[in-house]
Amino acid sequence: MAILFSITTKDTLTGRWESKPSEQGNIIGVVFKADNSFEGYVNKKPFASGTYTFNPVDSIFSFVDNGCDGRRGIYKIMLYSNSDSLRFEPLSDSCEARKSGMLRLVMGRVK
């Protein structure tokens, strides 16, 4: 069961995801790594490093990054389009700036 869980976790999120360009032409992206670390970036410029957990059963995504004074963010990830697109629904995040950014984020898997 644990092995199945870890395989599923690895496959569901692991990889690079990016948004479409905004009105200003900015592209936000994130790389989820198999070791449960991630790197967030804007226009290929890294801006957030952190660690995460993701439960594919209830789609709960929990993470901390190097901003927001180490405060944890907990979101539900909504996967769609054959799990090739995702968006975030906030469950608990006291970092308002981060929350408002993530609310607007829709990302597609970069293949």
Partner: protein, 313 residues
């Protein structure tokens, strides 16, 4: 001879600037902006251009504490880099410009910088056949305040850098792109050094205004953001600078008071040692950081790793 060197410098600056623009099509606003950026036509006595202080080889900053404008008039604040402004929310050390378009026009009129009223600048451009034609091609209009700001701002928005060793490490996942010292330095940046509290973001600035202890109301009496807002809490606050290419944009701080990155790190390690009587200092810097010599070296290595490959010697 001096005139020849001056003309050669202008030509080289123009070539360097043109090389940074993505699209060389003359219909492109940014190409027009690049020409204007390097052209002293926008200064009273035709001697100073934006590029006079925002020098390409220094990441579009320069090497003086404060810079000289027309007739050698000294400015009051350090020239910030004109690179990596696309994600900015306000501009100038005190954030008085809300848009890059607004920022681009201010130095033209500033008596300490280019000292040319905008209406006069526009008249010059309208009388210049080359610019008259360029503006017509790009904007279908004669030069106006609006499209002048747009053109220069469009050029400034092309000045993005995202290929430093740090970027290769984090974006491209190349762990060999940086040394062990850089990796240790990044940890210090995020933890013991507390740098990330202000320098968080894709350009290593959270675009906030902070008082880091360089205001004492006496010899250090530039009150920064307070001049714009009038709020007492803003006394001595300045916009957190981006750290991209920071290794080549010395000297540092709003007044260029710190000459090297060693001095910067030493200052942050214990701000009271350098400015014992600071007023309204941010609470993040109330206590010394206690960085060891090795930690300071590693932090410096990390900062050096933010230099884009285009500046690699």
């Amino acid at each position: 001879m001096k005139q020849y060197i001056f003309i050669l410098a202008i030509m080289m600056t123009t070539l360097f600037i043109s090389a940074t623009v993505i699209n060389n099509d003359l219909k492109d606003k940014a190409v027009l902006g690049a020409l204007l950026f390097a052209d002293p036509i926008l200064s009273k006595d035709h001697t100073v251009s934006c590029a006079s202080c925002h020098k390409p080889q220094y990441a579009f900053a320069d090497t003086s504490a404060v810079s000289n404008g027309v007739a050698g008039k000294k400015g009051v604040r350090n020239t910030p880099t004109a690179m990596n402004l696309r994600l900015g929310r306000s501009f100038f050390w005190d954030g008085r410009a809300k848009t890059l378009e607004e920022q681009a026009l201010a130095p033209i009129e500033n008596p300490d910088e280019m000292n040319l009223p905008l209406e006069e600048a526009l008249q010059r451009l309208r009388k210049n056949k080359k610019y008259k034609d360029y503006f017509l091609t790009v904007f279908n209009s004669e030069p106006t305040k609006k499209n002048l700001g747009e053109a220069i701002a469009a050029f400034e928005r092309t000045l993005e850098t995202s290929e430093s060793p740090f970027d290769n490490w984090k974006f491209s996942d190349d762990s060999n792109a940086v040394s062990g010292a850089v990796k240790r330095g990044f940890v210090i940046f995020n933890e013991k050094g507390k740098c990330v509290k202000c320098h968080f973001g894709a350009d290593f600035t959270a675009n906030e205004f902070r008082n880091i202890g360089l205001f004492n109301g006496k010899n250090l009496n530039d009150s920064g953001r307070y001049v714009v807002t009038g709020w007492a809490e803003d006394i001595g606050r300045f916009k957190t600078a981006s750290l991209r290419n920071i290794a080549i944009t010395a000297p540092y701080m709003h007044n260029g008071i710190l000459k090297t990155l060693d001095e910067v790190i030493d200052f942050y390690n214990d701000t009271k040692k350098i400015v014992p009587n600071a007023v309204n200092k941010d609470t993040v810097l109330l206590h010394p950081l206690g960085l060891t010599k090795q930690e300071q070296k590693d932090l410096k290595a990390f900062l050096f790793s933010l230099t884009d490959k285009r500046f690699k010697k």
